[in-house]
Amino acid sequence: MARTSKRRSASGSREETELATVHAGISDYYSAKVRKFGTTPPGVDWTCLPTQELRFVQLLRMCDVTSPFSLNDLGCGYGALLSYLDRYHPASRIDYLGIDLSPAMLRRARRLWHNRANVAFAQGSFSQRLADYSVASGIFNVQQDQPRDVWERFVAVTLRRLHGTSRRGFAVNFIDAGSVARDGIYSAEPAQWSRYCIRELGATTEIIDGYGLREFTLVVRRAA
């Protein structure tokens, strides 16, 4: 028994170390991006504002923006989602928490939104609070030199944590495996993570695609 428990704890610790390495790699990558390009779409590795916002359109489809709700934005970058909400849903009442791994990104986000009510930012790999909804845009794309199995463990852990901190549901996006493969970029078949969320999280899922980008959005709702 003691030996099994020791083995389990050693493997748990290995996974934690592995996850910490993945998080550190992500943090370094995006810190370098925002230092180079500032608080602009290329600063969070997107081509341009319209494609960045087209992703927000899909991610927010699960939310009823006419009623107040709380929202966790995991991998929030400099808080571009807030600009989008200002422009397209100015009447919405959202209690927003942006979470990001990169301290450089968060410094800029806080500077940009410091006077804004109902907006907070926190550093980390997951939210410490429970919100009605969570969204995460592009956080699973930049695999860099991580082995695929390690990266997929990171995806699984992150999906579990998103589920655990979302009262109603969450939405994330992935590069579609049907698109042309690029080195260092993670892509997946829509069914793979949809199945995972149904089986492991007991949730219901919806896949949104065909919106012009080489990716799909996975919407995960808590089963009624």
Binding site: C48, P50, T51, V57, S179, G212, L213
Partner: protein, 163 residues
């Protein structure tokens, strides 16, 4: 148009290529029987339908800036490129926007291909917008947008050499 790009005229072809990639025909996947409905002109069509990026009351150069069509790494070349577009003769900047608006009304819209032509003689010093197959290796109709360009004169060019 070397007047506006100056020594950055070496980037003109890459800037034109950037446009051509963003407005390219829908890519064909590795599975030859399946057309993938994303990227290229399909992405642009979705952006146009969602955000109305090209408008008949907004010059193309402004939409190009929003789409990052001036590139990322060279701010001077980017700014000069947008100036070149703004200063296209006969309101060419708006003509391009108008042509794109019309194109996106088509279902499906044509992919777009940007190129250039010699601005001389004077009758050619205008944006020329046509429809056709600009690339012999692609049997594909495009909306073709050709920008007038005048060659950059090298310093001292045209002066007679002394003995």
């Amino acid at each position: 148009m070397g007047f506006y790009m100056k020594e950055d005229d070496i980037y003109i072809s890459s800037l034109i290529d950037l446009f051509n990639l963003r407005f390219a025909p829908v890519p064909i996947s590795r599975d030859l029987n399946k057309e993938e409905l994303f990227g290229g002109i399909e992405e642009m069509a979705q952006l146009q339908s969602q955000f109305n990026i090209f408008r008949t009351d907004l010059p193309f150069s402004k939409s190009a800036a929003v789409l990052g069509l001036g590139g990322l790494y060279n701010a001077r070349a980017k700014n000069r490129w947008y100036t070149l577009l703004e200063k296209l003769p006969d309101n060419g900047d708006q003509q391009i926007a108008d042509a794109l608006v019309d194109n996106f009304k088509k279902k499906p819209p044509l992919p777009c291909y940007m190129c250039s032509h010699h601005a001389s003689p004077k009758s050619e010093n205008r944006v020329i917008i046509t429809q056709g197959q600009p690339l012999f290796y692609l049997e594909q109709d495009y909306l073709i947008i050709s920008l007038p360009m005048a060659p950059r004169r090298l310093p001292g060019a045209g002066k007679k050499k002394g003995k």
